[in-house]
């Protein structure tokens, strides 16, 4: 099955609308890009779009009620909501140190959830 997609390039603020076609995981550029760096971006966006995920997790007995978190690596776009669902279930105890692993291998992605802030008791 062939899918045609229009991808807005974010490499620079011109924001070219790059038209691509994906046939069985094969990438084909149809045009719209003003420069070469747009091609790589469009390719990764068309075949395997990923996003860094940031949110927060509840904290028990902390100076703040929340600790901010991030994914250790970019998460596949279609898995974002299942990862968020897992994050919402968690509550950690203070103290929390920045960089600490909050959840290992979240939602079977092999990606960890890390604290991005230190929270004192």
């Amino acid at each position: 099955m062939a899918i045609e997609k229009e991808i807005t390039c974010i490499v620079c603020p011109i924001g070219c609308k790059i038209l691509v076609r994906v046939v069985e995981n094969q990438f084909e550029l149809l045009g719209g890009n003003k420069c070469k760096s747009g091609i790589d971006y469009a390719k990764s966006e068309a075949l395997d779009p990923r996003r860094m995920l940031t949110s927060s997790v509840l904290v028990n007995n902390g100076e703040w009620p929340l600790v901010s978190i991030k994914s250790s690596k970019p998460v596949q776009k279609y898995k974002i909501y299942s990862v968020l669902k897992e994050i919402k279930k968690i509550k950690v105890n203070a103290p929390v140190r920045s960089g600490q692993i909050i959840i290992k291998n979240i939602a079977g992605t092999k990606i960890d959830i890390l604290a991005t802030k230190s929270i004192k008791k």
Partner: protein, 413 residues
């Protein structure tokens, strides 16, 4: 009242204040104090939990809290002094600062002052939206602090007015927290936030962006019940027949930021009407000698990286404090340019200028002229008001001696 002396006093402990304080210390000021009204350091950064900070500076993308922690740790190692929960009430032309906290009133006599007070968000009253005054209307940054710091959700069905970056980032954040985000409404024909945020915060989650639209009415008795939006024409006049009501319980305002300069104004520092920040020279020194300005109280930056780079220079100059201003040349914003910083120069050398253009355009030419003479010319691939433009020029002794104003303009605009 306590009374003490310091080499450099920094007003504001956000990213600009921290960067300036560290740089002042590293450049020889052994007595550096940072005054901040919050109980924490880092200013707005702890609530900016998204990533993208520090890319230009460090090469790796950090979240706001991580970026803040990096600076706070460095500052603490250097034995820079901090006074938190301390409000600067005023300072005078001799750099005597009066500050208050729960313990006492303090008089701080500083050889140099660095202004790093940051900025405030524009509110409903800056653009006078007609209608009722229900609850459920927040500025985007306030909603961000409620959700990311205090665990308070702001609403369930949200409309966002203004397409600034904070608003776009909040659209995604609200979606993550289970709210329905009905759309982002922008009066201009283009978004004011970065393209990256349009794609990753709106397009990714199917949130519509209504360009050439604005909110014309706010309705609700206790809580917000609906907003009316309408299309505007080229003159930004409302087209009445396009009005429609959107049921919602929350309106976020992302209308732009205003540098915070009450302290600067009170002491008589000259303010640029366009930036809303102090007029500075190439050393980031304001019209009051030995008082420097940096960060978002100088101009609203689009990345913390560019902000920190300039703040470090301001801190360095505050530490050295050997500036003699005599021949002043004004830098003027010409065709297509909204503003240029510094607004004044007084000495030859390599000078970095930052500016914002008025409208988005493709392949314009940036020119700097002095009378008939062209000092600088650069072809840009694109220019956008959302992206600050920076460039270096070698200013010769002759240019300084000529005393003629420099005009920065955009050709092909």
């Amino acid at each position: 009242m306590t009374n003490f002396n310091t080499d450099v006093a920094v007003i504001g402990g956000g990213p600009a204040g921290l960067a300036a304080a560290i740089s002042a210390y590293e450049n020889g000021a052994k007595n550096v104090i940072v005054l901040d009204r919050n109980k924490w350091l880092g200013g707005i950064l702890p609530q900016c939990i998204h990533d993208g900070f520090g890319v230009e500076e460090t090469g790796s993308s950090m979240t706001g809290p991580e970026y803040a922690e990096m600076y706070i740790n460095t500052a603490k190692k250097l034995r820079i002094k901090f006074m938190n929960e301390t409000m600067v009430l005023q300072f005078n032309k001799n750099r005597k600062i009066i500050a208050a906290n729960k313990k006492d009133l303090h008089q701080i006599n500083a050889k140099s002052i660095v202004l790093a007070m940051g900025c405030r968000e524009k509110t409903r009253w800056n653009i006078m939206i007609p209608g009722d005054r229900p609850s459920g209307i927040y500025t985007a940054g306030v909603a961000q602090s409620f959700i990311n710091l205090y665990n308070i959700m702001v609403g369930k069905k949200v409309v966002i007015l203004g397409s600034g970056d904070v608003g776009l980032i909040m659209a995604r954040r609200l979606k993550f927290e289970g709210a329905k985000v009905l759309g982002v409404v922008e009066i201009l024909p283009y978004a004011s936030g970065l393209q990256r945020n349009i794609v990753q915060c709106l397009d990714d989650y199917g949130i519509p962006l209504y360009l050439n639209h604005t909110v014309t009415y706010i309705k609700g008795r206790e809580r917000l019940e609906s907003v009316t939006i309408a299309q505007v024409d080229e003159k930004i006049d409302i087209i009445p027949e396009t009005e429609r009501e959107i049921k919602c319980d929350t309106l976020l305002l992302s209308l732009g930021l205003i540098p915070e300069n009450e302290l600067s104004r009170n002491v008589g520092i000259e303010i640029d009407n366009v930036t809303g920040g102090p007029i500075v020279n190439q050393y980031f020194e304001t019209s009051l000698s030995s008082v420097f300005a940096c960060g978002n109280c100088l101009q609203v930056y689009d990345t913390v990286d560019a902000l920190a780079i300039d703040a470090k220079k301001a801190g360095e100059n505050a530490a050295k404090n050997t500036i003699k201003q005599n021949k002043k040349i004004n830098i003027k914003a010409g065709k297509g340019i909204n503003y240029v910083i510094p607004q004044r120069i007084s000495k030859s050398g390599k000078i970095r200028f930052t500016l914002r253009v008025k409208k988005p355009c493709v392949s314009p030419t940036l020119r700097v002229i002095s009378g008939d003479y062209e000092l600088f010319k650069k072809k840009l691939r694109w220019a956008n008001p959302a992206n600050m433009v920076g460039f270096d020029i070698d200013i010769s002794d002759e240019t300084i001696k000529a005393k003629g104003d420099l005009v920065v303009l955009l050709d092909g605009y």
